[in-house]
């Protein structure tokens, strides 16, 4: 049996909830976690990763809003029957751009400086 694991890097500028969201979305999108599979309880996953329960709860909330999972009181969080279709190239590029801007912000650069850097790369 293959183990599905998630990893969080606390020095990564991407917030832990977002790192977790992407990995879980990938596991669901790639079929490693299939419809009806139960995700770990929020407290368990938070304790295993040394994160606050609120961080994991936010990840689950965002996954639910995106249609990847369904949460039911007392029934835990399960992979939704119809997970969203894989992202289009445009959406993937937008996600990469968002991550790039997040990284630039973490480095103390403004969005305009980040765009200028991209432009310089394209031109030169």
């Amino acid at each position: 049996m293959t183990l599905s694991t998630v990893t969080v890097d606390v020095l990564d500028p991407t917030p832990p909830y977002e790192q977790l969201r992407r990995q879980l979305a990938d596991l669901i999108g790639s079929g490693v976690l299939s419809t009806g599979d139960r995700l770990p309880p929020v407290r368990q996953l938070a304790a295993d990763l040394g994160l606050a329960a609120g961080t994991v709860a936010r990840t689950y909330r965002e996954l639910e809003q995106a249609g990847f999972v369904r949460s039911r009181r007392g029934g835990g969080t399960r992979v939704a029957p119809t997970a969203p279709s894989p992202p289009t190239p445009q959406r993937a590029l937008e996600a990469a751009a968002t991550a790039y801007l997040d990284r630039a912000e973490a480095l103390g650069l403004t969005a305009a400086e980040a765009v200028a850097t991209v432009r310089r790369q394209v031109d030169g």
Binding site: S4, T7, Q44, D48
Partner: protein
């Protein structure tokens, strides 16, 4: 006295079984450090709980008569012992925190108690619990008020005997101590509290954070041992309570002025068999609590492939 004579050999067999079945795992000096540290931490807490619980149990047993001369305090001794172990387990599991680094990984899994529960011990605990509940219920139902007005402390029987000279004579007898409501109420409250502690301890074990992923198998084994210890502590309490309760039942049901009916006879024989066995098993299982399975760290470095093994060094 006869109970102790019968229970003694059973307890001795229990001790031998505990020694024989005492499992353990040996790991290298640098292997599975996270799990080894958690195992040591939880073992220290559990041992502290066992010592504290044992101390309170001995105090209740020895000095309990000063609090309650009729044995109600002494009857709580097994519960005190079990509660001590369970509180130690809860404290150890809740305070065990594996070291976290910058990169933290977790398995996407849902840990359940069912995967950790030793089935055999769980069934024995369920049967023992059913027996103690049944014994206390029958005791409370059949118990009568004694001559000093204490409800549910004696077994009273009334019958009519045909005397050759006087004709039909109504006779009655009261024998005790009988585990009626006088004893059953505090024992039931104590056992309910213990059940709550068992639930808390099992929850703490299942929810304890996992250390590094490479030690997943050993960590699961450690959790199984911990769950087993919790069930053993509960069993020691239940059997340690069931034993005396059934022994007093058997004693009160024998030798009365009125003969026993079928239900009384069946109960007397059942109690006479269960009493010594439960008492002995409780003492025997106590050995399992004192000698739980452990993770041993081998100080000698693991020999490299092709390296000559030093004389008398362990070969793995």
């Amino acid at each position: 006295m006869a109970v102790l004579l019968l229970a003694g050999p059973i307890a001795f067999v229990g001790l031998l079984v505990a020694l024989w079945r005492r499992g353990g795992v040996t790991v290298g000096v640098d292997e599975h450090r996270g799990v080894v540290e958690i195992a040591r931490h939880t073992r220290r807490w559990r041992a502290a709980g066992l010592v504290l619980g044992g101390l309170v149990a001995v105090l209740l047993f020895v000095l309990g008569e000063r609090v309650d001369a009729l044995g109600r305090a002494a009857a709580l001794a097994p519960t005190a012992l079990g509660a001590g172990v369970l509180l130690g387990t809860i404290a150890g599991e809740l305070t065990a925190r594996p070291a976290v680094g910058i990169r933290r990984s977790a398995v996407v899994e849902r840990r359940t108690l069912g995967a950790l529960l030793p089935r055999g011990r769980a069934v024995v605990l369920a049967v023992s619990t059913a027996l103690i509940v049944g014994a206390l219920a029958i005791g409370a139902a059949w118990g009568s008020t004694d001559d000093l007005g204490r409800a549910g402390r004696v077994l009273s029987q009334t019958c009519t005997v045909l005397d050759a000279d006087a004709g039909p004579v109504t006779m009655s007898s009261s024998r005790g101590p009988w585990p009626g409501s006088f004893y059953a109420v505090p024992l039931t409250v104590a056992l309910v509290v213990l059940a709550g502690l068992v639930a808390l301890a099992l929850r703490a074990i299942v929810n304890r954070p996992r250390p590094d992923l490479d030690s997943r198998g050993l960590d699961t084994l450690l959790r199984r041992w911990s769950v087993g210890n919790v069930l053993t502590a509960a069993l020691v309490t239940v059997l340690g309570t069931l034993g005396p309760v059934t022994v007093f039942m058997a004693a009160a049901l024998s030798g009365g002025a009125c003969g026993n009916g079928v239900p009384e006879t069946v109960l007397a024989w059942t109690a006479a068999i269960v009493g010594p066995f439960a008492t002995g098993a409780a003492f025997g299982l106590l050995a399992g609590l004192v000698l739980p399975p452990t993770i041993t760290v081998d100080d000698l470095p693991r020999p490299q492939p092709g390296e000559a093994t030093p004389a008398r060094a362990p070969v793995r």
